[in-house]
């Protein structure tokens, strides 16, 4: 509950003199597109090589500090390595541990706000739905729901509303619609680690006994 309340104070920040937009639904989407596993699966941070970690950290800072129009245009046409390269050259003094700590702090706030919907017994389930039903994307679904509930603009929801708060508001919308919301399951990487251990204990010969 403390983390949920802490998210209320989230907003634009500053690191090493650079003004940073908050981590938001929009920047989470960019993190996915650019493969920032450090942000998407922060529990894997220790598994990422030092060089890759530094690259991801610089990318994270660039996408949150450069002009939004410049970032979006570069990501859209795939030319982001040019402005990012220039930024990385000029910002080589960025202190990695402090950015990592910031990513970890925001990730904790986001994790605390994540929920998943529990299907209600006796209601129509996925099994009964036609197999060709299409679901909207994660970002579009959240923005649509929050815009419908609040009237806030798409731009605000995508780029200026801190993700940790957006998720809490989305949770409010789910509960207002009487959805049953529960804590999500264990992080994906933790699931994989456990499954890999179990799988390693299986061999075809043992299976065959």
């Amino acid at each position: 509950m403390q983390l949920l309340e802490a998210a209320i104070a989230e907003g634009p920040g500053e690191l090493f003199g650079l003004k940073l937009r908050p981590v938001s639904l929009g920047t989470l989407n960019l993190c996915r597109r650019l493969g920032l596993s450090l942000v998407l699966h922060h529990e894997q941070a220790a598994l990422i090589s030092e060089t890759e970690r530094q690259r991801q950290i610089m990318l994270f800072v660039w996408m949150h500090s450069a002009q939004l129009t410049e970032v979006l245009a570069a990501v859209r046409d795939g030319s982001w390595d040019t402005p990012f390269g220039a930024f990385a050259e000029s910002s080589s003094e960025l202190i990695v541990p402090e950015v990592l700590a910031e990513i970890r702090r925001v990730s904790q706030l986001v994790d605390a706000a994540l929920v998943e919907v529990l299907p209600k017994p006796g209601r129509s389930s996925d099994d009964e739905a036609p197999t060709d039903i299409l679901e909207p994307g994660f970002t579009a679904s959240l923005v649509f729901t929050l815009a419908r509930e609040t009237g806030w603009s798409e731009s605000f929801l995508l780029w200026h509303l801190p993700l940790a708060r957006a998720l809490q508001y989305y949770h409010c919308a789910l509960r207002a619609s009487l959805a049953w919301t529960v804590k999500p399951g264990p992080p994906v990487q933790a699931q994989i680690n456990k499954l890999e251990q179990w799988a390693a204990a299986l061999t075809p010969d043992e299976d065959d006994k």
């Binding site: 996915r32 493969g35 596993s37 998407l40 699966h41 998943e116 919907v117 996925d126 994660f138 999500p184 399951g185 264990p186 994906v188 990487q189 699931q191 994989i192 456990k194 499954l195 890999e196 179990w198 799988a199 299986l202 075809p204 299976d207 065959d208 006994k209």
Partner: protein, 152 residues
């Protein structure tokens, strides 16, 4: 699988090499039924209530029927003759409706399935919310990361 195809699923929670579903599927194939596609088995390992759960799902073409014709005469034979017939593919091909031909076909199908199963490893099934991903055990870290990024 093709659009509109009727599929019969055979699912259980045993490793396919141990499961009684595998001989049953082999018996079905020997009887003339067929798989629904080129990848007829989905073998997964996932965590359920803190424990590993294996799920094997075979997909068979539900639009196929099998005909069993009792076109053989009652007879009494010794084991040597049973063995001769069982080991002779020519005899089995010439007497496709005979029980011995079925037994031979079943034995061949089961051996072939088991050989394929020995080379297979279950996919790791991970869930995030209502989405799930299937990860091959030998996936490269890059492929794994790509699959996970689809999960959101």
């Amino acid at each position: 699988m093709k659009e509109g195809q009727k599929v019969q699923f055979v699912r259980d929670h045993e490793a396919p090499l141990k499961s009684s579903a595998t001989p049953m599927v082999a018996a079905g194939l020997a009887s003339g039924f067929a798989f629904a596609g080129e990848k007829p088995l989905l073998d997964t390992l996932e965590e359920v209530d803190g424990a590993p759960q294996r799920t094997a799902t075979w997909s068979l073409d539900g639009g196929i029927t099998a005909t069993f014709r009792p076109t053989f005469k009652e007879e009494t034979i010794e084991f040597a003759e049973f063995r001769r017939r069982f080991e002779s593919l020519e005899w089995c091909a010439a007497n496709p409706d005979h029980p011995i031909a079925y037994l031979r076909a079943f034995s061949d199908k089961l051996s072939s399935l088991r050989n394929e199963l020995r080379a297979m490893k279950p996919l790791l099934l991970v869930r995030r919310g209502r989405r799930f991903a299937l990860i091959p055990q030998d996936a490269t870290p890059e492929k794994k990361a790509r699959i996970l990024s689809e999960l959101g």
